[in-house]
């Protein structure tokens, strides 16, 4: 896995001249995490924006009964970061943990600021990231209201089937706001129907 994954990701979001793209990509550094390791803990300030290129990362919080609740599952070619903590220097509100062994490329806060201030294209990039994160969160909230448990399962299965190979069902169930037992039942029923 080379740094070209970073350049491809940038190009997929913004129109950027090759030379500027390469300049920013050169500021990204390689990083690896073992399964179970924490990338960012609740209360810490995020100083690095990690672009995940291999593996899966989840964000989670602890509910009023002391149970961990998974709030997002991040697949490759997406940032795993609390961007509000990163940009505002405030404590992160969630924990970010490697579900599998992971490889990332990260850019430090100062390098990102440098890019924002010197290359207008990257301001657009920042806005796109924020917009995409907002939309994802919004979709997730609406999905919890509008869709049944089975529909949420089927929609994830369709959108990101690889998640089911790599991520324990317990975490997927928590993310979909379904009990483990219900998720197993739904999976049995769906496969019986040949879905």
């Amino acid at each position: 896995m080379s740094k070209s994954a970073v350049l491809d990701y940038l190009k997929s979001l913004i129109d950027v001249p090759a030379i500027k793209g390469k300049l920013v990509v050169s500021r990204f550094k390689h990083f690896e995490l073992k399964k179970g390791e924490m990338l960012l803990a609740e209360g810490q300030v995020s100083r690095r924006a990690h672009l995940l290129v291999e593996g899966y990362i989840r964000s989670f919080v602890v509910d009023s009964e002391g149970e961990e609740v998974t709030t997002s599952i991040i697949s490759p070619q997406a940032f795993a970061n609390d961007f509000l903590s990163y940009f505002k220097g405030e404590p992160a509100k969630e924990n970010f943990q490697a579900i599998t062994d992971c490889k990332t490329y990260y850019i430090g806060y100062d390098d990102m600021q440098f890019a924002f201030h010197n290359m207008p294209e990257f301001r657009e990039f920042g806005r796109m990231i924020l917009t995409m994160n907002y939309e994802r969160l919004h979709e997730q909230m609406l999905s919890m209201i509008k869709h049944s448990a089975e529909e949420r399962y089927l929609s994830l299965l369709e959108k990101d089937p690889e998640i089911f190979q790599a991520v324990p069902l317990k975490i997927i169930a928590s993310y979909l706001n379904i009990t483990d037992t219900s998720l197993s039942r739904i999976r049995r029923e769906v496969s019986k129907r040949g879905g």
């Binding site: 709030t71 505002k88 509100k93 924020l130 907002y134 919004h138 609406l142 509008k146 869709h147």
Partner: protein, 203 residues
Amino acid sequence: MKGEVGIQDSQADKIELIEYLQSKVHMPVKSAQEITAYFQLQQLAKGDILLEKGNVSNHSHLLTEGFIRSFTFNIYDNEVTTGIYHPTSLGNIFMSYFKGYEVKESYQALTNCRVWHISAEDTQTCFKHYSSFRKLGRVLLAHNHIYLHQRMLDMIETPAEERYLKLMASKPEIIQAVPLKVIASYLNITATSLSRIRREIYK
């Protein structure tokens, strides 16, 4: 500057919008005056629908007076309030920066409201020409994100009674102006539970 197109709102009305913009970000008076020329005022009566779920919107909206809620329907076809917006709240009702945005919730006036709208094209034009407007776009988006994120975390981390107490402390004006049924739905509590919580608090 934009030409003499569309409804001309009075200068007094525009001052309200200029003040609103300047309360959110540092914006030079000249920029604020030029930017507000792209906006048009829309007055809503209580109960009016501003945007309907499933429709395509080519405008961004800023709320300068009143309360608006967003809502959708759950799997049992009951209305669920997903957001309550007012001018002093962190975010604002809606910033769709892109043309042809499909609205995912319906937006309804809970009181009489004053809303300013700007087309998606003009939003992009203003982003291009005014750094303070770019900043405003970023600030509103970030605030909306924080608001939504905190709401999601509260549903997980905070018990129902504390969610109500938190709303009372942070947004007392919502408790004054918005029907309890809407507040209960917004807090994801049944109306009966909310009445019980309120009785216990005021005892």
